[in-house]
């Protein structure tokens, strides 16, 4: 009885974390508040769907095609579209505002392209939707897989960022780009790399959630909203925070739905969000800004 909501809460939390990890890199390090984030995720869903239904490449193999492709596309977007903003921005706050406007435009372009190609219909396909029993509770293999990826990616990147030289450079840029320049870190290249890495993560998330979510071209904004909440709650730029915040939201939603009322899941989510904002405005794992 208790393991069932626990397990589905943890898987849901993993999915939330997975959805939000790319944004925390793009927003936390590259300082691009990417409003077209959800569209990138939906685009990855469509890519996985197309690979699977048109040329029967299963989504797990699809990851190896879609993720590198997404990294390249995002790197190009950063170099071509966002670099002019980075160059002329007098401060990081100004860059945030500018990037909101630019990516807001990008949102409509991406959505328009997907609408033109796929139309506004709902899509869903059947892959790995097989029951797995864990401690007497049943969960689908695809959701479990998404959880696994979230944990692995989250921990690997967390370790990569804290234990390696390149990771330290990325964190330095996230904390203080001016001082980072002083210690010979190529801030722009690092930011572009972080943006591309974030793009790769969101693509991985998109491919994985497309295995069990029903989506259409207009669903992007839903993912952007969810990702933003997770990122802000966990602390901008912190992958571990992302994982923890995702878990808190997933577990809250599932336990509220099971023991209180499924109608109150959103309310519970926002109550927690507001509490975090009130008590720890920098997010659970966020560093206090000086």
């Amino acid at each position: 009885m208790f393991t069932e909501p626990l397990l589905s809460g943890v898987t849901l939390g993993g999915i939330y974390a997975l959805i939000a990890m790319g944004l925390t890199l793009q927003y936390g390090v590259a300082r691009i508040m990417n409003l077209s984030y959800g569209e990138s995720l939906v685009a990855a869903c469509f890519a996985a769907l197309w690979l699977f239904t048109a040329i029967s490449v299963n989504p797990l193999l699809g990851l190896f095609i879609i993720v590198p492709l997404a990294a390249v596309i995002n790197w190009l977007v950063y170099q071509i579209l966002l670099m002019p903003l980075v160059r002329r921005a007098p401060s990081r706050d100004a860059l945030e505002v500018d990037s909101i406007l630019a990516t807001f435009g990008l949102l409509f372009v991406a959505q328009g392209v997907m609408l033109a190609i796929f139309g506004g219909n709902y899509f869903s396909y059947d892959f790995l939707s097989i029951p797995v029993k864990i401690f007497g509770a049943t969960v689908s293999a695809s959701r479990l897989l998404a959880l696994g990826f979230a944990v692995v990616i989250g921990l690997a990147l967390y370790l990569g960022l804290t234990r390696t030289r390149a990771g330290t450079a990325i964190r330095a840029v996230a904390v203080d780009p001016v001082s980072a320049l002083l210690v010979a870190i190529d801030v722009r290249a690092t930011a572009a790399f972080a943006y591309a890495l974030g793009g790769a993560l969101v693509a991985a998330g998109g491919v994985l959630v497309s295995m069990f979510l029903t989506f259409n071209a207009s669903l992007g904004v839903v993912f952007t909203m969810k990702a933003l909440i997770v990122v802000i709650m966990g602390g901008v730029g912190n992958l571990l925070g992302c994982l923890v915040a995702g878990m808190i939201l997933g577990l809250t939603e599932t336990f509220v739905a099971t023991y209180v009322d499924p109608g109150l899941t959103l309310a519970a989510t926002y109550v927690i969000f507001i509490l975090v904002l009130l008590l720890r405005p920098q997010g659970l794992f966020g560093a206090r800004r000086s």
Binding site: S8, L115, L213, T265
Partner: protein
Amino acid sequence: MKLNAKLLLGLAAAAALSLSAPMLSAQDAAPKSIKIGYAISKTGPNAGGANITQIPNYQLWVQEVNAKGGLMLKQYGKRIPIEVIEYDDRSNSEEAVRAVERLIEQDKVDLLLPPWGTGINLAVGPTFNKHGYPQLTFSAVTDRAPELAKRWPNSFWFLGTSKQYIDALVDLLVKLRKEGKINDQIAMVSVADGFGIDLSKAARAGFEKAGFKLVFDRSYPIGTQDMAPIIGEAQRSKADTFVAFSYPPDTVALVDQSRLTSYAPKVMFTGVGTFFPLFPQRFGENAEGVMSLGGWSKDNKATMEYREKIRKLVNRDPDYWGSQIGYSSLQMLEQAIERVGKIDRAAIIKELQTGTFDTVIGKIKLENNMPKDAFWLLGQWQDGLYVGVAPQRPGVAELRVPKAPWKK
């Protein structure tokens, strides 16, 4: 004298002009096209529904009419092609109202087609009514339909009231209970949005009146796709009947979760999406036995031909509830216009209210601006086709209960 002559000449010219103007327009009045406009959700949350039920119908109908050369208007003694003006309402009621006003006042359209969905159709209702345009809605279900048809005689509500669907469902369940096929307990969930709220409200009253016990009755926020808690609780209840008034993504999630956890209620009724082509594509054999609104005649050649045309046009099937009814409403509009023989909106409305029309779903005559016994209220997936199981009218399929067990 000279002045007088000039004045006379001028007067004569003016008279000639003023005389010739109306004469000219009477001769040459046949317009190049009949302008038909609509605002519909091409983007936003309603786009999914609008794209499947409504937009292909509009495209198909205009294509077919124009292939014949247009609408036959006796007034001019010839066919006049349709010109379409289309706006995206972005799934936003205010946007839809603005677009409809623009279509009427700036684009000066001759006729309007309705937007998608109950909410937006209600929102544009006053505008259609104020300007006297017929509004043939076929993606709106509201218990206020009879009242609205009275208040706005130009509005037609093809899908009718939520109550009629619930009445049909209750009748079926009562019959099953009498036959001892199900117990008297029902588990019900609904999405906390227009469709879910309306239908679950009507269902609550209907089930209670028929002596059923609602052992599980919950709503969930729109956008929820994690159904493990809901299906888990429904499974623990002892209900033989599971009813969900859901939207497409949640419908898929509910059915998928039931399959995963081998939750097998004897009657499984799910909401919007069940009758979409997506459903059998996604679930294959596991779609068998799942019930919902709408339905398809298993042996009606006209609807099968209609399905072929939609397939050719958009490369997929129509949905099995509103699509066929929507196309029929357009056929009715076409026939009404041609019978009236000119773009006289008041006369067209009158003809729609009183005439009898030939459509792909059969003969339709409206009663209080709603079709009566013209289509299936409830359907069930049987052998790969979503067949009508209620009301009891010719061609009805036998309801299959209990639902077939899930195949892995």
